[in-house]
Structures are given as C-alpha cells and as structure tokens.
C-alpha cells in the first residue's frame, strides 16, 4: 500500500481565479526521499498542503479528487488526526515557534493531543535525541540560529511520530553550512528511522545526493516525475526554469558536446571521479 495516493486532484484556492493544482496523480511509498521543485508559484506548496489535509480543511476552495494518506481519505479526517501521519515544516522558522523553551516547543503537539505527562516526557526525550539537540533542551528557541530553530521545529513534528515529513522550502533563509547540516539530518531521519521525506526546494545541489526521486511542477501540474538520477542526467532543467545543480549541467554539456557519458551522477564528487576516470582512459 502506498503511503500517499493522489487521484485526479484539482484545487483552486478561494478568492483566486486559477487552479493551483491540476489533475495531480501521485503515489508515494514508505521510505522515499522526494524533491518537489519548479518555478515560484508552480503549486509545490499547495501540493504539500494537500498531502496532510491543510487543504481542504485549513485553506478552503474548490476541491476535486482524492488524497489518501496511509489509507485515510484526507478530506474526511481532521487535520490533527492526519498530523500524526504527516507532519509539515514551513519556510519561516520564526512563525512556527510558540514556546519559551525547546522542550516545551517539542511537547506542544503532545499537549494538544492530551498525552499524559510521564509519556510526554519520554517522547520529548526520545525526540530530542533523534534530532541530536538534547543539549538545546532548556534553551529559548527564539534566540537560536535559523538552522537550530528548524531542527527544533522538525523535532516538534517528530514527537507526533509521523511516517511522512513534508518540508516547504526549509532551507531558503539558512546560510550554506546550516542548510547542509539540516539536509544531513533529514537524510539520517530517512535512513536511520525510515521516515518518508517530501521536500519542496530550489536548492537542488544540496539535496540531490540524498533523494531517490524528483518531481517537477509547472502551473499546477506535474510535468516530470522520475528517479532523480534519470532527471538529472537527461533533462535540461534550466530550460524549465529550475536551478540545475552545476555538476548535472556540466555532465549534460560533456555528453552533448563530446559525447562523453558520465552515467548517473548525484554530486560534484561523483562527476569529478567519473570525469577523471574517463579522462585517463
């Protein structure tokens, strides 16, 4: 059974005159790490919201089609029930921080669910360890760096033990080092804890090596959905208005101009290794 199954989904926000999602069909299996990308306004944020029920419950509008999350029809369940299956992290950390200490931030969702205190303590401990931020436990989230704040917010999502973590441009305001560190944590959650990750981002160069699949959207539609190595090797992403990672662009040029085939590469290191190998032959 797929973790997410979307069938013929169309959605138009109230008060807009265009369809933000058009004829979306998508299946996501457990354990995947998926990048969704596309130009600004292509509908990637809307698609994430549709997966955990924020659409149609929080953002209303014209909704047509089916989204089935872990066997549950999203439109027929409450957001808080769905939040236990799919957690979502947004772009701006400051708007997702409510508590005065990290541990209370992590406990926020559990408090809302009415979890008993001893159980809650246990989950908070575990979650902080999972994200490796136990040392921040008593710190005030407001004063942490953007990267640390995003980790705290991811912990607060993990506390609800979701199978799926949705992230909407979580890297955009982070500096390169923090972004890199956050991406590595996501990779760990994917590998070590089997969490399914779906991330909407422009910064493909940081992410490509950890993902197994890439979805490209344009004007509310999915125009490309394939294994990431296939996409990077074969598609001229720049012509689609997407920040193509430099190594992929480079490999594409080598193939076009010299017929030099580097195969499937997902990082600069890989391209370099294969190029030097090819050169010496």
């Amino acid at each position: 059974m797929s973790l997410v199954k979307i069938i013929n989904l169309n959605f138009k926000y109230a008060n807009t005159d265009f369809w933000s999602l058009r004829n979306i069909n998508l299946e996501i299996s457990e354990g995947e790490f998926i990048i969704i990308t596309g130009q600004s306004g292509c509908g990637k944020t809307t698609l994430l919201r549709a997966m955990n029920g924020l659409i149609p419950h929080y953002h209303q509008g014209e909704y047509d089609g089916h989204v089935i999350l872990d066997g549950k029809e999203v439109s027929k369940h409450k957001v808080y029930e769905l939040a236990k299956i799919a957690g979502i992290v947004f772009q701006n950390p400051e708007d997702q921080i409510f508590a005065m200490t990290v541990e209370k931030e992590v406990a926020f969702g559990l408090e809302n669910l009415g979890i008993e205190r001893s159980e809650m303590r246990k989950i908070v401990d575990e979650t902080l360890q999972q994200m490796r931020i136990s040392h921040l436990r008593f710190r005030q989230p407001f004063f942490l760096s953007g990267g640390e704040q995003q980790k705290v917010i991811i912990s607060s999502i993990l506390a609800l033990k979701p199978k799926l973590i949705l992230l909407d441009e979580p890297l955009s305001s982070l500096d390169p080092m923090s972004a890199q560190a956050l991406v590595e944590e996501l990779h760990r959650l994917n590998r070590q804890y089997g969490k399914t990750i779906v991330i909407a981002e422009h910064r493909l160069d940081l992410l490509s090596k950890y993902a197994n699949r890439m979805i490209v959207m344009d004007k509310g539609q999915i125009i490309l959905d394939n294994r990431i190595e296939e996409v990077l090797a074969k598609i001229d992403l720049e012509s689609l208005g997407i920040n193509e990672p430099l190594f992929a662009k480079f490999a594409r040029f080598l193939r076009a101009k010299y017929g030099l085939e580097l195969g499937n590469c997902l990082s600069i290191e890989e391209v370099v290794r294969r190029f030097n190998h090819a050169k010496s032959h």
């Binding site: 029930e81 939040a83 708007d95 409510f98 005065m100 669910l113 004063f143 609800l160």
Partner: protein, 236 residues
Amino acid sequence: MFRPEYFYFRKKDTIIHRLDPRSKLVYVIAMFVWALIRGDLLFLSAVFLLTLIPISLGKLFKNLLISLRAALFFIVLIILINYVFSHNLSLAIALALRFMILISSFLIFSITTSPDDLALALYRMGFPYDFVLTFNLSVRFIPTVMRDATNIIDAQRARGLETQKGFINRIKNYVPVLIPLIVVGIKRAINVAESMEARCFGASKKPTTLYELKFAVKDYVFIAFSFIPTIFYFLL
C-alpha cells in the same frame, strides 16, 4: 536603535525567577495595596526599600534603573505638581515613592515570570485554554512585531521617509509604516495558525501540560514576605 530582542523574556536562574507565578501575583497585589493604603513618607519609604530585596535577589537592579530613568519625567512631574498644590515636600516625595513602588513591584513580577508559566497559572486558575494560549502567543510575538516594525521603518527611511520632523508630519508618515506592518502581521498570523493546526491544536478538549506548577516552601516564604508591611503599618 536597539534590538527588539531586548523585549523578549530572558530566562535567568535566580530564586525570584523560580518562584511560582501565583505567589508573585499575590506579591504584586499586596504591594499595590500597601502603596495605596497610606500616603506618608516614612511608611512608603519602608515599603519601597522592602521591594529592593526581591529586586536584588532577582538581579534586577539594572532593569530597575532603566525603568526608573524612563519614568523620571513622571516622577519629577508628580513631585512638582503636588508640591505646587500642597506646599508639602514630604507629601510630594511620598506620592512619587508610591509610584516607584508600583514600578518596582510590577517589574519583579513581569520580568521574572516566564509568559508560559504565567499562562499555565492562568490555565490552572480556570481560564479557558484558548484564552491562555492567545495570551501566550501575544507575549511571544511582541519582539517579532517590534523587529518587523524596525525593519519597515528602516526600509521606508531608506526611501526618504522623514520620521522625526513635526507632529502632523509624523502622524501622516506612519501610513507607510503601518500598512506593511499590518500586511506582514496578517501573513504571520496565517502562518502561525497553520503551523499550530499542523501540530494538533484543538485535538483535545483538555490539553495536558509538560510541567505542573507547584507551590514550594519558598513560595510560602515569599507570600509571607509580602505581608511584612503589616508590621510597618502598625509600628510607623
């Protein structure tokens, strides 16, 4: 120019910070009553000096000085007006002291009490959860809104907006600041609500809490301390 972060509650570890918010609430109310119950210099001086004890235990002298400096204009005004009308200097000073007691005791409450502890106290006193959370969020977002305001003022001044010339001009010139502030504020509110929704807000009618407030010996001592002026009241 200062950083809006300055207005954010900062955790410190002193005995005053660790007190139960309810006992600090009792203390503030008691001090307000003492400040208003008698108007003579000797009594009010004694009460004011007494408020300096928790100030020093909470390491708040610097904050007190900043607050008093900010209120200096009013303090001088109270002394002047009362002196002009009554020709009684000790009365005039006493009334200024009354004002200073209000500042000092309220400072002890407001600066050392974490907003979420206060929210928890309110929740336990029977206020509805929604109300308590709204209170908590509004306190949490004060520095954020102030930072937004600072950034907006900077952006508009960089396009030649004068914020310092003349009163009428000042009012008129707040439009370019207020509109972005409202727009940004609404966007934030939508984001915050969405993020709360995604973290199960409203799932249970009776949310639990990670911590419970507990009255300890120090809280009883502090409440007893609030009533020391009873002695002054009868002796002085």
